[in-house]
Amino acid sequence: MIGSKSVVEKKQKYTVFTIEECPVCGQKTKREFQTGDYITKDGAKCTKCGNQTRISLIYAETTKPPK
């Protein structure tokens, strides 16, 4: 019989990251996603030049490389 299990078991684990980008010097910081984050929201101060960073991307990445 054609099993439908194989489809489900291949599921990969993903972790969601938030990228904060400094609009002045372009420095990008990657950290784990926190509830309430959204793209264009103000992030922390830039560690390089002290300017206000902005969340530019939020994406999911595989935690373990697929076999």
Binding site: I2, Y38, I58
Partner: protein, 281 residues
């Protein structure tokens, strides 16, 4: 759904029915959730939609299973068995979508909104249709009218009504409409691959696509499309890295399209299509 024996004017009727339904769902969900936060309400609306879709799948599968048993139809059961992997895949995508919605993370489908938001940051925004906002920006002497659904709520907005509003009510004469959207990839195609084409790039039941084509044809405005490929699962779950990283390439392509297809002093209408959950402007 409206009667379609006489199809003349049916899009308007479908639009009317769908808008009434959406209003009703939003109002009822708002009452049940009892939260004034528009993000929470919009997320709950989407969760309800996912639950409804799962329930429909369950009911249809059960119907054919029981009907096959009742009528002793081995073939009906075999057909159902053969379709099960695909059905499970779709149901699985819906279940995964629930987690993304609950956390209000941007979806793969939100790539159009991400691109549009880059042009809108720090600009003055105005509402031009239900859940739809417009901002004006400039690029190499062109005036850009950028449209997207209002984020970070889980809205898709009404880009059809919005585009018509810009052209007919605001009197803007764009020399091109450029639409950015997620597109369903075929098996074997790579996630995050970019495709360029012409025509209104928008899914759904067809109302928005019709409205955009109508207004574009009437005013003879060419429509260009930039698409980012992804699977159905990727479109309704947290945006994958491959899709997010395509955004820089999309920006480059978009700038090239603007430079090639329009002249300095022209107006260009850019529409970022898709669910804008977790993507503000």
């Amino acid at each position: 759904m409206p009667v379609d024996i006489d199809p003349n004017g049916i899009v308007g009727k479908i639009d009317h029915v769908v808008t009434t339904r959406d209003d009703r769902v939003r109002q009822e969900v708002g009452t049940i959730v009892g939260d004034k936060n528009p993000v929470t309400v919009s997320v709950s609306e989407n969760l309800l939609e996912a639950a409804t879709a799962l329930n429909t799948i369950h009911k249809i599968v059960r119907h054919f299973y029981l009907l096959g048993k009742k009528t002793n139809s081995y073939f009906m059961l075999v057909q159902l068995q053969m379709l099960m992997p695909m059905i499970i895949q779709e149901a699985d995508a819906l279940v995964s979508a629930v987690d993304t919605f609950k956390l209000a993370q941007p979806l793969g489908d939100g790539i159009g909104a991400v691109i549009a938001s880059r042009f809108m940051v720090g600009r003055e925004k105005q509402t031009i249709a239900r859940d739809t906002v417009l901002a004006v920006n400039e690029y190499k002497g062109r005036k850009l009218y950028v449209v997207k659904a209002e984020g970070p709520m889980a809205y898709v907005g009404q880009p059809g009504v919005g585009i018509r509003h810009v052209i007919e009510e605001m009197g803007v004469k764009p020399s091109a409409i450029i639409m950015i959207d997620a597109a369903l990839k075929l098996e074997g195609e790579k996630t995050g691959e970019i495709a360029e084409g012409v025509g209104a790039a928008i899914g759904g039941i067809g109302v928005e696509k019709y409205q955009i084509e109508e207004v574009a044809a009437k005013h003879k405005i060419p429509i260009y499309a930039v698409l980012v490929k992804q699977s159905i699962l990727e479109a309704i779950t947290a945006m994958r890295k491959e899709i997010a990283e395509a955004s820089d390439k999309v920006m480059t392509l978009l700038n090239r399209v603007i430079e090639e297809k329009t002249k300095e002093g022209d107006n260009v209408l850019i529409a970022g299509i898709g669910n804008t959950l977790g993507v503000s402007q």
